[in-house]
Every structure is written in C-alpha cells, then in structure tokens.
Symmetry: C2
Subunit: 234 residues, 2 copies
C-alpha cells in the first residue's frame, strides 16, 4: 500500500482486454484529506467544517462525511457527535504511544519476515533499499526538493522489510501506525538524515544475512531515536 503518497489521479486497471479508468470521488478525497493531515496542511486540532471542505475538495457533504468517518476510524480525525469533525490533535504522549506501538508491531513483523522471506522478498528488498539510498544521498548532498519521494521510499523500504511476515492483518495495522508516526515527523522541520540512512543500511544487511536479532535491535533503535528527535523538536 502506497497509502501515504498515493497518486490521486485516476488509476488504470485491467479489465479483460480493455483498460478502464476507475476512481470514485470518495476514495480520492479520502487520500487527499489523509495526505493533508499527515503533511500538516490541515493543522492538528483544527475544525473540519463540511461547507469549507466542500469547496476545498469539490465533493458533496455526503461524500465528505463518508471520508471523515473512515478517517475517524483510522484515527486521523476526531468525530464529536453532533459537533462535527476535527483533525486529530497531537501530543508528546500520543507520539510516544505511537512509537512504542510501531516498535511492537514492526519488530514482530520483521522477525517473522526475515525467517520466512524467500528469493522474491530478497529481490524486492534490494530494490527498495537501492531506491531509498539514492534518494537519501541526494538529500544529504543538499537537494531537499524531493522530501515526499524520500518519505515514500522510506515507507516502501520498511514495508518491504516486513512483507514476508505472512499477516495481512499485521501489515495493515502497521501501515496505519506508520502514517501516524510519519505525521509527527512531518510536524518538525529537521530530520535525522545521516544517522537514519546508516540505520537503514544496517537493517538491510542484517535482513539479508537473516540475523533477526541484529535487525530488530537496529529497528528499535531507529524508531526510538526518531521518537526522541521529534519529541525534542516539537
């Protein structure tokens, strides 16, 4: 799931021999609003007035309510009965909870994934790490124009690492938590560029030689350091 930065334009899918454009207004507003919450365009705690959203996202009230209800179940929006919707507010406590959850879920998934991953998985991992490293190098050399792309490759790398864990349920829970964690990262201006890149490399190497202990330990440090960095800057 490229849930974070998913292309919002119409996607093509194969249907028999024809290609046909599909995408509902609902799903595209969902992606757009979610993205705007994660990347801070919609500020934490701010009221989501339906009339205003109607103009902003060019969708009807019903469609917006469907969207906001979904986002509320996901935990990005707060729904106050008969008082409307709000962007989920942020706090250090919440971030700490999110980070701990991410450690719990992702480390568990990583362990199983490393134990079960086949050649396909290794291939995907090599590819994912390669793309991530290239973008990281660009970022480190001062070209910060592609922050969104960088974050997408970060997501793809982490997702690929745990992809062989054999649990759809775990994967989708993790996807949500990852996005919540990302939202906090986008809240602060700076990032841990070089250190994070080094940790990615260590995880990559450990995963390929099937060293579960090393990989999960680095992952935990990776997340915990990210947590500390964000806490210190928010």
């Amino acid at each position: 799931m490229i849930n974070v930065l998913q292309v919002t334009e119409r996607m093509m899918i194969r249907d028999k021999s024809m290609t046909r454009a599909i995408n509902t207004v609902g799903s595209s507003t969902y992606e757009r609003i979610k993205k705007d919450i994660i990347f801070g365009t919609l500020a934490p705690g701010s009221k989501l007035k339906l009339d205003a959203l109607k103009q902003q996202y060019e969708a009807s009230v019903s469609t917006l309510r469907e969207t906001l209800n979904r986002l509320s179940s996901d935990g990005f929006v707060e729904a106050a009965e008969q008082r409307g919707f709000f962007v989920r507010s942020v706090s250090k406590e919440d971030l700490t909870e999110i980070a701990n959850l991410r450690i719990l879920l992702e480390c568990s998934a990583l362990k199983t994934s490393i134990e079960n991953g086949d050649a396909d998985w290794e291939g995907n991992l090599v590819a994912a790490h390669h793309k991530l490293r290239l973008t990281e190098e660009k970022m480190l050399s001062g070209d910060t124009s592609q922050k969104e792309l960088w974050k997408r490759y970060d997501w793809e790398f982490h997702k690929t690492l745990i992809e062989a864990c054999n649990s759809q349920n775990l994967m989708s829970l993790h996807a949500i938590i990852y996005d919540k964690y990302l939202r906090y990262q986008m809240l602060v201006i700076t990032d841990r560029g070089e250190a994070a890149a080094k940790e990615h490399k260590q995880m990559f190497d450990a995963a390929l030689v099937r060293d579960v202990d090393a990989a999960t330990k680095v992952l935990e440090v990776h997340i915990r350091k990210g947590l500390e960095h964000t806490l210190a800057n928010m």
Copy 2:
C-alpha cells in the same frame, strides 16, 4: 469501551443541570450492524445491499454508507469500489493472524499494566473478575441463557487487566482485535468454558501479585488454546 454489546438505546449524558438524550442514527446503526456481524446475524461474505439494509436498520442510504465506511476501516466490512459492501469473509488463516495479533498486543499491554497498575486498578480488576466468575459459574452449571452477558464480562475482564498500560492507542487497537477474535468464537457453537475460567483465575491471581511472566504466559496459552478450539470447530 463496551463496544461489543453496547446498549443501542439512547444514552443519557449530563449537560449542565439537565439530562439530555443524545444518539445519532449513525452511531446506533454502526453499533447494531457491528454487533450483527460479530454475532453472525450477518453471515460472513454476504452482500450488504443498501436497499435491504435501509429497511432492516431504518436508516437512509447516506447514513448507511457512513456506517459501512467506518466498519470497512475497522475491518468488519469489505468495501469493493463501485461494487458495494460485503461482510468480511472468514478463514482459518485470518483467524490465526488475528489470534497472533491479539497475543502480541494484549501481552505487551498486560506487562506494562501490571507494572503500572495502582490501587484503583486492583479494585477494578477484583470487581471485573468477580462478575466474570459469577457468570462463568452459571454457565458451567448449565444456565446458558446469558451468553452475551458472559462475553461482555469476559471483555471487561480482559480490558481491565490491560487498562493501566498507559496507552490509549494500544487500548483501541486491542479493542478492535478483540472483537475480531470474538467474531470467530461466536462462529462455532461450543466454547472452552471450564478451562477458560481456570485461566482467567490464574491471570487474575498473577496480576494481583504482579507476576508479569506468569500472567503473560497464561494469557498467551489462553488465546492460543482458544484459537485451536475455534480452528478445530470451523
């Protein structure tokens, strides 16, 4: 959260000096449909046609769509773009994933909770276990009329056990997973009555003497045995 068996009638809340009835059609429909999915009234895999639901739950299409979108984010309903909604289908693989997730989340929460629980928590735990034990005894002596109540007390006991874990995020994730697990339990006819009751007692005792290891071990066995029992009967 008494999410499973929550009373669907209007609830009273205090507002200044008056009591005032609140409850939207949306939230009550949500609870009702969720309950019907968990308790099997709405069969796994079955199509959720809007017209039919409209009559069944006496709500408009838009309200129902809001509900179904929420349930889809929660994972109880499958939303197929432009093809409508379906009750989430079941499988042994899915149940196994759910059980493993429950072990992961609940054991982690239990550990922290036991480490942090104060006198209030102990009191709540004593009360929760007492209510559960009374109902279990009735069930074991043949009175199976209160299966829903029993399941509610089971939920309250497990919830109370982890309530001092200091993580709202973890608690709400756990609540969803618990309900998914419960759905599978309701699918099969029989239960592990006596054995489960014994395990509850063991967890209760271990929690009170703050024996993290013993408590989490029993919990894991408790869930794993429940998984095996359900797998064998589905």
